[in-house]
Symmetry: C3
Subunit: 363 residues, 3 copies
C-alpha cells in the first residue's frame, strides 16, 4: 500500500518539505532506495549514501537541507528514531496469512473466539480457551485448555501457550516461544550437597548422593498488555502462584524466564537473558544480552545491566552494572583497567622486593 | 478433584492435626488461599501471611502451633519441601488434552502404540516407531522413524524426536524441545586455524582460510528412565555412537547438549547450560544456570558449578566451582575480594615506590 | 545400504588394503563394531579397543599396520577426520520421511514447488513461496508468504521460515529453528537511561522512566548457499534491510542472530552464540560456544574466539581472543595466571609495607 509524503508526515506528526504528492511504497536504506522508496537518512553520515540510490524523498534529521541532498521531498522529525516507530508500522506488510478460521484448525467446541479472530492452518485451541477480538493465531500454534488471550494479539507460528496461561491485550509472541513449560523444581529426600554448598559458600559436606523428586508446577503464566516475546523464548509455569510478566515489557529472542519469576512493567530483557526461579525484576529495567540472574535474586527498578552480566546478588534500584559477578559499571571499568596492567604490577612488586629485601635473597 | 486433609496426610506420610474431613481443592500461597485451599506455610515467615487469606487448613513446619495460627487443620511434614513433591502431584490438573488417538494424527501403519497411548491433534509418528503404554503425545509433536519411547511418558506440544532416538520410561519432554538435531561437526581439508590456535594456545599460524565439509551424524540420542527435558532445549545426535543422558537426570529449559555428550545419572542441568561436543558429565552433578562446558571436557561425579561458570578444563569429582574460567568456589570468592581491592593495591605499590625509590624519579 | 571396502575407498579417494570385497553396512566405534561394520580407529589409542569388538575392517591412520591389528581389510586416509566427511555421507540413513507431497500439507495455490520436492505431513507453504528442486520439507514446517528456498535443501520438522525470507541452495535447517522472528527494536519518546549510560559509561542521568514504542521489522532474512542452522536457533528480521548469513557458514544449535546482523562466508557460530543487533562478523571466523557479540560490533575475518568470550568492542582480523571482556588469548592466559597468584601479591605488598613504613603503623 502506498502513502504520499504528506500522509506520512501527518501520521507521524512530523514536518514535510518539498513535493507533498510523491507516492511511497516502502522505506529503504539510502543506497538501496528507488524512486518510490522513502530513504532513511536520519544522520548526515547516512545521507552520504543517497547518491548511490535513486530516492526522490527521504526521512532526514531536523534542519537538514533536503534540496542540497538532491531530493524532491523530505520528512523531518525531531527524534527520527522515534518517528521510525510510526513509519515502520505504516509499511509493515505482515505475515500474509489471510483471514478467518482455516478449516484444518482443531478448535474445542467449548473455546470462545472473539470477533475477527484469525486461526491459521493446523492451529489447536483447547477446551474453554478464550481468544480476544482481532487476535491472529498462526500456523501450528497450540493454545491449551483454559488459556486466555486478550484482544488484538499476534500469536505466530508454532507458539506454545499451555493450559491456564493468561495473556493481556495487543501481545506479540514470536515463532517457537513457549509460555507454560514446567518449572525446574526438584527436591531430594534429605538435605542435598547443593543446599550445603550454598550455606557454606563452597563446601557440600558429606551429604549422600540422592535422586530427585519432582515438584509439579501448579501455577501458570500471566502476561500483561502490550508485551512482546521473542522467538524460541521460554517462560515457565510457577510452582503455586503464576510466573508474571508486567505490562509493556519486551522480551527478546531466546530468553528464559524460570518458575515464579516476577518481571515488572516497561522492562527490556535482551537476547538470551536467563532469569532463574523466583527472581524478581523491577520496572523500567534493561538487561543486556546473555545477562543471567540467579534464583531468588531481586533487581530493582531502572537497573541497567550490560551484556553478559552475571547477577548473583540483589541490585538496588537505578544502578548501572556490568561484569561477572556484577558490579557497578564504573567499578568494573576501573577493575578491568587494573587487570590489564597486572603484569606491570607484579614486576613493580618484584623490583620493590629486590630493592628492600636485598640481602635476604628472597625466592 | 478434592481430597480431605486426612487423605492428603496419608498420601504424603505426614502428620495431620485438627479436623480431618476438611476438603481441599487446590494448594495456594497463604495470602491467596480460600476456604477450600491448602495454604503452604512451611516456614514461620510464610505463616505471617495467613491472615491475609481465608485458609482453614495449611501445610506447616514440624511442631508448628496450628491453632495459634487460626487454622482448623494442618499437615506437618519433617521436610516440607520434600512433601511438596507428593502434594503437587496430587493436585496437578494436567494439560487437559483428552484421551485416545485424535483423528487428525498421522501415524505410520508400521508404528506400534502401547495400551492407553494418547495422541493429540496433528501429531506425526513415523515408520516403525514404538510408543510405550500410557504415554501421552501432545499436539504437533513429531516422532521420527524407528524412535522408541518407553511407558508412561509425557511428550508435550511441538516436541521433535528424530529418527532412531531411544527414550526410557516415565520421561517428561517439555514443549519445543528437540531430541536429535544434527551434531555440529565439520572438517577442513587441511589443518585449520582453530586446530593450530588450540595447540599453541593462541597462535593460529598461517593456515589458509578454508571451507568446511560436513560430518553427518550417524548416531542418535539415548535418554534414560525418569528424565525430564525443559522447553526449547536441544540434544544433538552423536557422530558415530549415541549422545546419552542417564537415568533420573533433569534438564531445564533452553539447555543445549552437543553431539557425543554423555551425561550420567541423577544430574541436574539448569537453564541455558551448554555442553559442547563430546563433553562427559558424571553422576549427581549440578550445573547452575548458563554454565558452559567445553568440548571433550570431563566433569566428575558430584561436582557443583555455580551459575555462569565456564568450564574449560577437567573437573575432579566432588569439587564445588564458580567463575569463568572455573575455579574452586572458595578460590573464586578470595580472588573476587582481591579484585575489588585492586585500586587500593595499586595505590599501595605507588606509595612504596615513592618511599623506596625516591631519588630515581620513576615514571 | 551396503558398500564394499573397495567402493568406500574409491569414494573417499583413500587407500584400501586387504580384502576388497568385505561388505560394510555401517560405521561404528571399535568396541561396538560387528563383522559388517567399518570400525573407526583413526588413531593408535582408538585401535586399542578393536579387540573388544568384532570388526573385520577399519578406517586407520596412514601407515597403520592393519594385519597386526587383527583386521582383514583397512582403509587409510592421509587426514582421516576429513575422510569422515565422505564416509558419514555414504552411511547417512536420513530421516525416513518418504517421498512426494503428503495429502495433509496446506500449500497455497500460488506457491511454486520444483521437481522432486518432498512435503511432509502438516507442513504449510504460503502464498507465492518458491521451493527449489529436490528440497525436502519436514513435518509441521511453516514457510511464509513470498519465501524462497533453493534447490536440494533440507528443512526439518517444526522449522519456521517467515514471510519474504530468502534461502540459498543445499541448506540444512534443523528442527525448531526460526528464520524471521521480529527484531528487538524499541524506542522511547525521549532519550532513555540506556542511551545516557552508554555515552557516559555508567551514568544513566535523570532520564524519566518511559514506555517503549515498537519499530517494526520491515526487512527479512537472507541465507546463502550451503548454510546450516542448528536446532532451536533464531535469526531475526532486519529493520529496513535484511539480516544476512553468508555462503557456507555453519550455525550450531540454539544460536541467536539479532536484527540487521551480517555474517560473512565460511564462518562457524558454535552453540549458544548470541549476536546482538547490527553486529557484523567477517569471513572464516570461529566463535566458540556461548560467545556473545554486542550490538553494532565488528568482528574481522579469521577471528577465533574461545568459548564464553564476551565481545564488547571491535576485533581486528586474524586475532585469537578469549575472556569477558574479550582480550587476546595470550593476554588472557597471562592475566589469569596473575589472578590466581593475587593472594600472594597482596601478602608481598603487606610485607613490603611493614619493611618500609615500619614506624608509621599504617592501618
Amino acid at each position: 500500500m502506498a502513502y504520499t509524503i504528506e500522509q506520512i508526515a501527518r501520521a507521524l506528526g512530523a514536518e514535510a518539505a518539498g513535493a507533498p504528492d510523491i507516492e511511497i511504497d516502502r522505506v529503504a536504506e539510502p543506497a538501496d532506495a528507488g524512486p518510490r522508496d522513502l530513504a532513511l537518512a536520519t544522520k548526515p553520515e547516512y545521507a552520504n549514501a543517497l547518491p548511490l540510490g535513486a530516492a526522490r524523498a527521504a526521512m532526514l534529521w531536523e534542519g537538514a537541507d533536503w534540496r542540497a541532498l538532491g531530493l524532491e521531498a523530505a520528512i523531518m522529525a525531531p527524534r527520527p528514531r522515534y518517528a521510525m516507530a510510526g513509519l515502520s508500522r505504516m509499511f509493515d506488510t505482515g505475515e500474509g496469512w489471510g483471514e478467518g478460521v482455516h478449516a484444518s484448525a482443531v478448535i474445542d467446541p467449548t473455546a470462545e473466539l472473539g470477533d475477527d479472530v484469525h486461526v491459521a492452518p493446523f492451529a489447536v485451541i483447547g477446551a474453554r480457551a478464550r481468544i480476544g477480538a482481532g487476535t491472529r493465531i498462526g500456523p501450528h500454534a497450540s493454545i491449551g485448555a483454559d488459556a486466555v488471550i486478550g484482544d488484538g494479539g499476534l500469536i505466530r507460528d508454532g507458539v506454545r501457550i499451555a493450559a491456564r496461561v493468561r495473556i493481556g491485550a495487543r501481545v506479540i509472541i514470536n515463532p517457537g516461544a513457549v509460555l507454560g513449560g514446567d518449572g525446574f523444581s526438584f527436591v531430594t529426600p534429605e538435605v542435598s550437597g547443593v543446599e550445603a554448598a550454598r550455606s557454606t559458600l563452597g563446601d557440600q559436606g558429606d551429604a549422600e548422593a540422592q535422586s530427585y523428586a519432582r515438584i509439579h508446577s501448579l501455577g501458570s503464566v500471566r502476561i500483561g498488555d502490550d508485551v512482546e516475546v521473542g522467538s524460541n523464548s521460554s517462560i515457565d509455569r510457577g510452582t503455586v502462584r503464576d510466573t508474571v510478566i508486567g505490562d509493556r515489557t519486551k522480551i527478546d529472542s531466546m530468553v528464559m524466564v524460570g518458575h515464579n519469576v516476577v518481571v515488572g512493567n516497561d522492562t527490556l530483557l535482551c537476547g538470551m537473558v536467563g532469569l532463574a526461579g523466583s527472581a524478581r525484576i523491577g520496572d523500567n529495567v534493561v538487561l543486556g544480552g546473555q545477562v543471567g540472574v540467579g534464583d531468588n535474586i531481586f533487581v530493582g527498578d531502572r537497573v541497567i545491566a550490560g551484556g553478559g552480566t552475571g547477577i548473583l546478588s540483589n541490585v538496588p534500584a537505578g544502578r548501572v552494572i556490568l561484569g561477572y559477578p556484577a558490579m557497578k559499571m564504573e567499578s568494573h571499568i576501573e577493575m578491568y583497567k587494573g587487570l590489564r596492567r597486572l603484569g606491570r604490577l607484579y614486576a613493580d612488586v618484584a623490583d620493590l622486593k629486590k630493592a628492600v629485601i636485598k640481602p635476604a635473597k628472597s625466592d
